[in-house]
Amino acid sequence: MREIEELPLAVVDAAPVIPGGPPRRPVRDAVVTVATYVVSIAVALALCALLVAATGGSWEKVFSALIDGSLRSPGAWGLTLTTAAPLLIVAVGTIVATKAGLVNIGQEGQLLIGASCCAYVAVRIPGPGWFALLAALTAGLAGGALWAGLAAGMRFWRQVPEVISTLLLVFVAFQLVAYGLTKTWLLLDRTPRINKNNTGEPLPTDRTFGHLHLFGNDVSLSVVLALVLAVLIALWLSRSVGGFRLRMLGLNPRAAQRSGVSAVKVGGTALVASGAFAGLAGGVLLTSESAGDRVTTAFSGNYGWQGLLVALLARDRPLVAIPMALVFAALRTGSGFLAATGVERRIADVVQAMLVLALLIPPAIAAIRDRRRAVAAARAGAMATAPATAGAAA
């Protein structure tokens, strides 16, 4: 017998079923909610400041350096925006998979494969710049899609949990690309140079994203692409029939199956799509030159991981992912200025992770509060005002 495949490692959130609902006090609840968020973030930042102080640094200097690097110094905020683009694209793709009930944590690998495929096409394909760019980005998209497709295939054919397979594939991706960078017929630089050091071929300059020059800052056009994608996906998820069916699958796969939503087709497509987004982000990273103009083994530079964190931070809302991507991008570009303060630049990574953790707490507290209220309401209903006795005589 083949049941609708009940993958044992499905992600289930513990949401209480409260018939009648807990009593709600909207204004007070909103205030409390905002307060918990503020307190959470403050605590997280304070802990980071403590960490800096404990290792002999000055947190004021760190904070100042971060602001300098991300916003204040000339050209900084343009760079920050450009950095945010691939983060946002990865995040949006992740959200699509999450809404379908799938856990994709292999974006770093999908991004790298996408960047590599993009590079391969970009340095070889003839034709005008815009055409090559389009083709290269499509290749990047396809590469990421394929890489996630491996995990999708494993999940729907053999019930291999995608949370594990996407992760393991990241490491395989690194090795694959490292191999590719040793062969000129794959990724290795074909130009005769002395110290190639296993790097890819530099991108021809006509095949890159153009820039907007705004107030002395260079903002890559990839930012526009990222914004458009975020808005499109947000609309699609909330308004379209396809998005409706996807959400159904994520919330209740059995009910969805009854209604004609195939877990394999819709879920598989969602996972492949999220890989495609990550791959596209890799291509965007390459062609907007924010990580250099050629592929290296370290090219993905944690963009995949951080894009995933952005999605978590945004609590799976594509529009919220936009400001969140900016925050993370700011931390990234800001950390470049940390060297001068003597504080190890990895502190930025710590701040990012602490922020995500901090933002997990308020909803959890709200859920507990809701549940407590519901229990109280049921009891208030359950036992009355008048005293009652229930005796069990011996």
Binding site: D13, A14, T55, P161, I347, D349, L357
Partner: protein, 305 residues
């Protein structure tokens, strides 16, 4: 060539040494998963343990203290995971993932600031047994922290199958509602299972630093926590199967250096990716045939009715 490899004691010795980390981490994860929790912060626990061991052994010039710090570091991480997921009801995948990223950043940061100098553990050969041909040094001639597995694995088996605690743990992993109604404190047992997992994984990380590699490398664990999770799946959630899987992956990882030592040349990327590919392949073969604990990765909240 195959015979050359199979008949060299280096293979078995390396395989065992590389398997220790897997065995400790996977055994911990096995306990956690039998309780119904899926602990993807396992990777983070290992890294935390590895770093803790570096700091502990460096500060006190003692391998024992290093191991102690390793266990505590793993436990601290486990405490965060357990309490956020099984007390505060945050999504356990999200928490686990974030903790992994946090630990990587935190340990890299602290490592650069503190620069610990690791005190390595010496090899202790068990008399007589280590003279067994071929596999003697593998099982009985390792750095002494390796022998932790001989205690840790039977202890885990005993705890899960021969104690009341273990019975309750298994009930929590199969049917937490029934366990709750029978008077078992489900989330408390689940948290305890994760704490144990943290200690085990931390010790595994400690072994990595103190006996296997000799230093702390921020990227040193490189996804092996996830391979350990794959070992549990490979083993069908049985302890024996899990350990078997650990040795398979340990061997795969050892192949690279063994081949090199024997004078063969092989594609370096292929060798490095071998454990991961093997983990994927074994899951492909076995995942759909085995049955996980029925309540795995399903959080438990006592309902209203």
């Amino acid at each position: 060539m195959i015979w050359d490899v199979l008949s060299s004691s280096i293979l078995y010795e390396s395989a065992f040494r590389l398997a220790v980390l897997f065995v400790l981490a996977a055994t911990g994860e096995w306990m956690a998963e039998r309780a119904g929790t899926l602990n993807i912060s396992l990777e983070g626990m290992i890294i935390a343990g590895a770093f803790g061991a570096a700091v502990g052994s460096s500060t006190f010039d003692s391998v024992w203290v290093g191991l102690g710090y390793a266990a505590v570091a793993g436990l601290v991480l486990a405490a965060v995971q357990a309490n956020m997921s099984h007390r505060l009801t945050a999504n356990q995948f999200v928490v686990g993932l974030t903790l992994n990223v946090l630990v990587v950043g935190l340990t890299a940061f602290l490592n650069a600031e503190l620069k610990p100098v690791v005190q390595r553990a010496g090899v202790v050969e068990i008399p007589l047994l280590s003279k067994i041909p071929l596999v003697g040094t593998a099982f009985f001639g390792q750095s002494w922290p390796a022998y932790m597995v001989y205690l840790a694995v039977p202890l885990a088996w005993f705890l899960v199958f021969r104690t009341r605690w273990g019975l309750e743990l298994r009930a929590c992993g199969e049917n937490p509602q029934s366990a709750d109604v029978s008077g078992v404190h489900v989330n408390k047992r689940r948290r305890q299972a994760i704490y144990l997992c943290g200690i085990y994984a931390g010790l595994g990380g400690g072994f990595l630093t103190l006996a296997q590699v000799g230093t702390f490398e921020p990227q040193g664990v490189a996804g092996r926590g996830f391979i350990a999770i794959a070992a549990v799946i490979f083993g069908g959630w049985t302890l024996k199967g899990t350990i078997a899987g650990c040795f398979v992956f340990g061997t795969a990882q050892a192949l690279g250096s063994v081949l090199q030592a024997l004078g063969y040349r092989a594609n370096p990327q292929l060798l490095t990716s071998l454990p991961y590919v093997l983990a994927l392949a074994t899951m492909l073969l076995f995942a759909h045939r085995t049955r996980p604990p029925a309540a795995l990765a399903r959080p438990f909240v006592r309902g209203l009715t």
